[in-house]
Symmetry: C2
């Protein structure tokens, strides 16, 4: 309490701080969120943090004399890390000492955004009240934050109730946590740099969370979980139906996803040695159903014509009310949706790839449980959602699995011989999405599969004996042995069945028909597409030639195909790092034209046609 406090004004922007006697200017500036260059880490062994003290500067320290020239000392320059505050002073930060807006690389598409988070945590020294200064505690705090550069803030009555006791506990030296325009919490001043956010990609099958340091903009950790709602249905329709059948259905599904998101927060925080209570904001992208199930918005109308969402807006809710275990005063921002089946994940893809700012025609394909497709330029963007099904995520495939250890992730044909690769080189356990695409492509090339998708029978004379030997069963119940007994973990062979091939045909047919419909609506041809962007959790691992061979992507030169990784998740991270993008997200959500495939009279025919595989350049002979 008896600590002596001095007033320091930082020029050129005039930010005013109250600083305890003896603190260095570098520490003071950092606590107030003023970014000063300090390459040596504040040890007085470089001249990066030079600042000017125009009036009556303190005598230069030894380090100052070593690192600065006589001319510089004469211009009243000093090192911020060596200068201790002994009285009120005015300090000028030269342009070269100031760290600008940091550029943060957020995604595979290589876009950068300036760091401008919605959350700020700023340590301020407030003068204690006196009879000469009877401002209310809340006003005192707001004035202090305004001096530190955060003006126009408000304090809710719930927070105002705690402020008097909290300010006195912290001896009027709090680190204030500000979300948006609201002061939400007062923390200990030493914790001013512990300020985190988490960006969630809430998928139908997979949940990913990125823990981000909101002071540096760096990703601190990432964690993922399978969406436990899958126990109630692979796809969104099944889950919506579950909610309709059971009165507590929606609550059950919300509880499941929240439980998993809380596990992700806990795991990511553990990895990064961060307290969950230092996480103040979460951003969420997800498809419409995932968004509505998380927010407990009614899902029923999404699944029935005319397929409308309850709310397509971005929402901001209290983390505590929602049940997300970050700081109880933290907030959850859910990004806006485009239409019934085109959600905030697609908004994330568009933001992360910058399609909304692109002159050339680009096609983005986000392969998840649903397949979302976006086509267009900055002038016009079209989007649709196809019921691709979760085949590429391993569901509904006899030996399907997620891309984990033991998953067959590559299948190559060397002559008549199959060459398999498994994740971690472990004995094979099952088949993941990339392996599935590869296997189908290889069997098409080998002639085991006809373009219609029919698997040849073992006795078919056109097949090489080495391949024919691998075919089991008959009459639509055929299967192709990818890994024999000796090669698998369980000792049982791993097959690609006729049914699996049908699932792949449904998925890729839906995607291809969707792409064709958007092209027609846009008035363009496949060859006009300058860039195909493959997004999605497993997008990075797909081999484009194989995807093209099975007709999942249009027949374009492979150099036009680009991987953008989990672009939806990257979009969520961008929305966390730069809150101005939330307005851009609203514009995207409102501006993108949604094409409802189910209502187009030609769609069924186009879909049926697109289920046929492209004619192989390989050994298939009629």
């Amino acid at each position: 309490m008896a600590e002596k406090i001095h007033r320091v004004v930082f020029e050129p922007d005039g930010r005013t701080l109250y600083v305890p006697h003896g603190q260095t200017l570098l520490e003071a500036a950092r606590q107030a969120g003023i970014r000063i260059n300090a390459p040596c880490g504040g040890t007085g062994t470089c001249s990066g943090c030079r600042i000017a003290i125009p009036q009556a500067p303190p005598p230069p320290t030894e380090a100052c004399r070593r690192e600065l020239t006589g001319e510089e000392l004469g211009r009243n320059l000093r090192l911020a890390c060596q200068t201790r505050v002994q009285r009120d002073m005015r300090v000028v930060i030269p342009e070269e000492t100031r760290l600008g807006d940091q550029k943060i690389l957020t995604d595979g598409a290589g876009r950068t955004v300036p760091l401008a988070p919605n959350v700020h945590k700023v340590a301020v020294h407030l003068p204690p009240p006196s009879v000469q200064d009877q401002r209310s505690d809340a006003d005192r705090l707001l004035d202090g934050l305004a001096d530190a550069g955060l003006s126009g803030l408000a304090i809710d009555v719930k927070v105002a109730r705690e402020i008097p006791a909290r300010l006195r506990e912290l001896e009027f030296h709090p680190a204030a946590v500000v979300i948006g325009r609201d002061v939400v919490w007062l923390d200990k001043p030493a914790s001013a740099e512990a300020c985190y956010g988490v960006a969630f990609d809430v998928g139908t099958t997979t949940l990913v969370g990125y823990l981000v340091d909101l002071v540096s903009g760096r990703q601190a950790a990432v964690a993922a979980r399978a969406n436990p709602q899958a126990a109630y249905g692979d796809d969104v329709i099944a889950r919506i139906e579950f909610c309709g059948r059971r009165p507590e259905g929606a609550k059950t599904l919300q509880g499941l996803v929240l439980g998993a998101l809380n596990e992700i927060v806990a795991e990511a925080c553990r990895k990064a040695a961060v307290k969950p209570s230092a996480v103040y904001e979460a951003t969420v992208v997800g498809n419409t159903t995932m968004n509505h199930l998380l927010l407990r918005l009614p899902v029923d109308p999404i699944a029935r014509a005319p397929f409308v969402a309850a709310s397509a807006s971005a929402h901001e809710t209290s983390a505590k009310d929602l049940g997300l275990r970050i700081h109880p005063r933290g907030r959850v921002y859910t990004a806006p949706l485009i239409a019934g089946f085109v959600g905030a994940d697609t908004v994330g893809v568009i933001l992360a790839t910058g399609m909304n700012e692109s002159d050339g025609l680009r096609l983005a394909i986000d392969i998840g449980t649903n397949g979302e497709i976006v086509l267009g330029t900055r002038e016009r963007l079209l989007a649709c959602s196809t019921a691709a099904g979760p085949a590429f995520e391993g569901a509904r495939i006899r030996y399907g699995m997620r891309a984990a250890g033991g998953a067959i992730d590559r299948v190559d044909l060397a002559g008549d011989r199959l060459v398999l690769h498994t994740i971690d080189d472990a004995p094979a356990v099952g088949l993941c999405g990339t392996g599935l695409i590869d296997a189908v492509a290889a069997l098409l090339e080998a002639g085991v599969l006809a373009p219609s998708g029919l698997m040849r029978a073992a006795h078919d004379v056109a097949l090489a004996p080495a391949l024919a030997r691998r075919i089991t069963g008959a009459d639509g119940d055929t299967g192709f042995v990818l890994a024999g007994k000796g090669e698998t973990q369980g000792g049982a062979p791993i097959l690609l069945t006729q049914r699996d091939v049908r699932e792949v045909q449904l998925a890729k047919g839906a995607m291809a028909a969707g792409i064709q419909t958007l092209l027609e609506e846009f008035g363009a041809k496949a060859e006009d597409i300058e860039e195909v962007l493959l997004a999605g959790a497993f997008g990075n691992f797909i081999r484009p030639d194989r995807a093209r061979a099975i007709g999942l992507i249009p027949p374009l030169p492979l150099e036009r195909v680009k991987f953008v990784g989990n672009a939806a998740g990257a979009g969520a991270k961008m929305l966390l790092l730069n809150c101005d993008l939330r307005r851009a997200a609203d514009d995207v959500a409102r501006g993108v034209e949604h094409v409802e495939l189910s209502q187009r009279p030609d769609f069924q025919a186009r879909f049926a046609e697109a289920m046929v595989f492209p004619s192989s350049e390989g050994r298939w002979k009629r």
Copy 2:
């Protein structure tokens, strides 16, 4: 559901409504909050509601032909009350048919404010969703409200959860309740005109609530209660101490005031035949302690030097969270405070009297349990609070009571004879504030009281026998019989005691010393004051000559004294009727200079001096 809907555009402002087939244009406009003149009440017997239908107007009805001239019919004018919507149409509302911003008389000071409430209730006809129109339910509603003139609104996730079911129940024809920028509730369309607010003056001793119709701006009812917190202390200091002594103290006091406010809402609604659930907003003015006790903000620092409030800001809270029984989605706005002991009630007085816009020097005195004083012009306003004590509200006075039936409210001297008046001419029960002032003034004039406040003994030779006979007791325990046994309800005499006179001296001394201090601070003299504004619940009943005689107000010509009634309450009503004034309230709260009397070294001496009564022109002889 099968109801046919037409689109009607009202010019010149382009507001668009969806109207059921067959509804009259007058009804449609009213439901959407467009104000059309209709002196005959829409019965087709005047021409007040004439509107123009430029394209293909329907054939004129009999009433149209009767009320409009041939020339008018030729200009496609029709009566809105007679014109049923049979198809989409464009309607032009002539200037003379349009009701302008209504001017509402809100207070004794005669100020008017345009009706611009924070709450709107608007019936909209929304086109139901279709495959051609897949907007989300929330967007559909927001678009409909934007067409009706309310744009830029938002829907919170809690409200969004209810919208799908509610819209379908109401067949996409809801009356939306909008508070500020938020859609909070969907009501039945027939209830679109049931939209009320309540303005509270939360005083230390008295609570008053004004129920206001937010569509017409008219006051619908008023109700009042004694503040039940008085059981825990007459004044704010006693209540703050109670909170400090008892862990549940603050909760108890909040519960008491809320209970009484809820009774006021219930009573006012009963009187006006309004459902409490049709009340959507409450505004509150009160002194700092009343404000903090209501909001459960900590009160402890208010009572101890340096006397700071937890929060001086205006706050907006949920009525349900607070416990106020209006519509559960309703909101409570508490006006901002000036300083520790100068609260939102004073902000209300300043707004209601327009002192913040006055060129001439004005003095406002709000006589409640504390006495708040404001002095100044538009350029500079000073305010202080004096611990006047609740003497004028009947507390701490031996036979004191509130201004109810049987209270002696006037005391006149006719020669040596006292002439009393009681409220309702009932047998005397006690003495209210005005009676107290009158009694002291009369006894000063009669010489029973010396300017020092000393009451003469019965045997004092200078007194007329008729008066001397009324004096009882001796040596500081004297009393003056105002009403004898035969004149009172209980049969016991009603006295003004020496102690009562001391209470009056304390109260008026504090007020007078406060006024002198503000004058000095402002650099003005009493005679510079152009207008003295007497506010407060009982201000209207004070006789200014008597108030001047006892020195409660400065010795100025009586024509400069003006009564402004419950100006604090009038301010609360203005803040309810015109939400733009809330910004003005913030400016006033921040701009007024608070003068802390207790810290002025000269205040005690000035206070002691001011306790002396002005020398009587009457019979006092030394």
